[in-house]
Every structure is written in structure tokens, then in C-alpha cells.
């Protein structure tokens, strides 16, 4: 599973993208975020407030109960500020 980070999530975690292999129990976006927090203090801190962590799976916005699986591209980012 490929995970991408944008904006201050990228700068705080210090990674733009990585390939991860979460355990089989991780089947949703919410489960993935909780598992990522266990990977170290920078993850735990950057992902602490999930209100400001938006998610896209395969380049579509999804809610936290959306399923995720091995072949997916998952992106985590703050609320957008374009225009």
C-alpha cells in the first residue's frame, strides 16, 4: 500500500511518500491512521488531531470508514487552502 503525505503532514512526518504493509486487521482508513500513529512519535504527533487529517483513497476523497487494501494509494493531508 502506498501512502502519500502533503503540506504540514509531509513536513512534520518528514516523508513525502512510502510503501507500508499494515497488518491484516487494518481494513479501513481509520484503522490505517491508528496503525500509522504507532510507527513513531512524529507520526503520533502529526496525526493526533484527526479532525484536520483528510484522506483520499485512489485519488478520491473518502471518510474514515472507507475500506483500504494492499493495492491502494492512500493520501493524508490537511484541509485544502487553494485558489
Amino acid at each position: 500500500m502506498k501512502v502519500l503525505y502533503f503540506a504540514w503532514l509531509r513536513t512534520r512526518i518528514g516523508v513525502a511518500q512510502e510503501v507500508v504493509e499494515p497488518p491484516a486487521e487494518v481494513t479501513t482508513v481509520g484503522g490505517l491512521v491508528e496503525w500509522l500513529k504507532t510507527r513513531g512519535p512524529t507520526y503520533a504527533s502529526a496525526l493526533a488531531n484527526t479532525k484536520v487529517v483528510k484522506v483520499a483513497v485512489n485519488q478520491e476523497y473518502v471518510p474514515y470508514d472507507h475500506p483500504v487494501g494492499p493495492g491502494d494509494e492512500v493520501a493524508l493531508f490537511p484541509p485544502v487552502t487553494g485558489g
Partner: protein, 157 residues
């Protein structure tokens, strides 16, 4: 239908000409050009950098353009959004809508820019005398976008 996400500047007059040339059913074109301001949140901004999500950003812009065409009778639409480092006075975004009727051109253009502000995958980082900072989302932008909701499920959201 055209969506472009690019580092390069754009030429508003040339884009309007290209959109309207030899298309005599168009009665009006509404354009919105967003520019970098020298002040944000009370602080001087010497430059900003726009980050995007290559692939997803274009997809989301195409989806909202299709939504605008579904809601209004439009002859054409153009969305151009830049990324990278920009300075005060630089152009950021261009929205063009063309229709037989001015009301449709105005409403769809306003809809598109309100949506771009709240749903398009772009993130701004500002350079200020206090250092660099990521811009936080504004509640006023969400309010502006919410008035276009036809139902509780927002497209792409």
C-alpha cells in the same frame, strides 16, 4: 472542457479569445482571476508556495467542471490553477465560463471558485517576517461553498 494545473503563468486575454473564437452562440463570458496578496491574516507576505497532488488535483478539477456543466447551460469552461512559488501580484488561478446567458456564466464561475477554495487539493505555504507557515483553512470559505450544496452530499467531498 479544459483543466490545467501548471507552474507557468497564463494569459487571460488569450484564454478568453481561444474560448470564444468563432463560437457565436456565446453571449457572455465571466472570468475570475485570483492574485497573490501582499497581506494575509494581518501579516506581510513576501511569497507563497502552492503544493498540489499530481493526478488527484486534475481529477478533482475535472469532476467539478463536469458538475458545473450539469447544473448550468454552458458553452465552455476553463480552469487553470498554478502551483509552485508565487509572489505578491502573481496570478494564481483562472476560471472562465461561457454561456448564452450572463446569469449562468456568473453563477457557474462563482460556484467553481468557491469550490476550488474548499475542495481542490492545493495547500499554501506563506513566507512572512515571522517565518514560513502553512495557511489554515478558512471557515468563511466553507460557508461560501456550502451555499452551492444541492443536498448534504457535496460532490467530491
Amino acid at each position: 472542457m479544459t483543466v490545467r494545473v501548471q507552474a507557468e503563468d497564463f494569459d487571460v486575454g488569450a484564454e478568453i479569445d481561444a474560448l470564444t473564437r468563432d463560437r457565436h452562440t456565446i453571449g457572455g463570458v465571466t472570468a475570475f482571476v485570483g492574485l497573490v496578496r501582499e497581506i494575509a491574516g494581518g501579516d506581510a507576505v513576501s511569497a507563497m508556495t502552492l503544493e498540489h497532488y499530481p493526478g488527484m488535483t486534475e481529477r478533482q478539477l475535472e469532476a467539478i467542471e463536469a458538475e458545473a456543466r450539469r447544473r448550468w447551460p454552458l458553452d465552455d469552461v476553463l480552469l487553470v490553477h498554478r502551483y509552485g512559488r508565487l509572489e505578491p501580484g502573481d496570478r494564481i488561478v483562472l476560471v472562465l465560463t461561457a454561456s448564452a446567458h450572463r446569469q449562468a456564466a456568473f453563477e457557474s464561475c462563482h460556484f467553481l471558485i468557491d469550490w476550488l477554495k474548499t475542495k481542490a487539493p492545493f495547500w499554501k505555504r506563506e513566507e512572512t517576517p515571522q517565518g514560513d507557515r502553512w495557511v489554515e483553512a478558512k471557515d468563511s470559505d466553507d460557508t461560501a461553498a456550502a451555499r452551492w450544496a444541492e443536498n448534504p452530499v457535496w460532490p467530491g467531498g
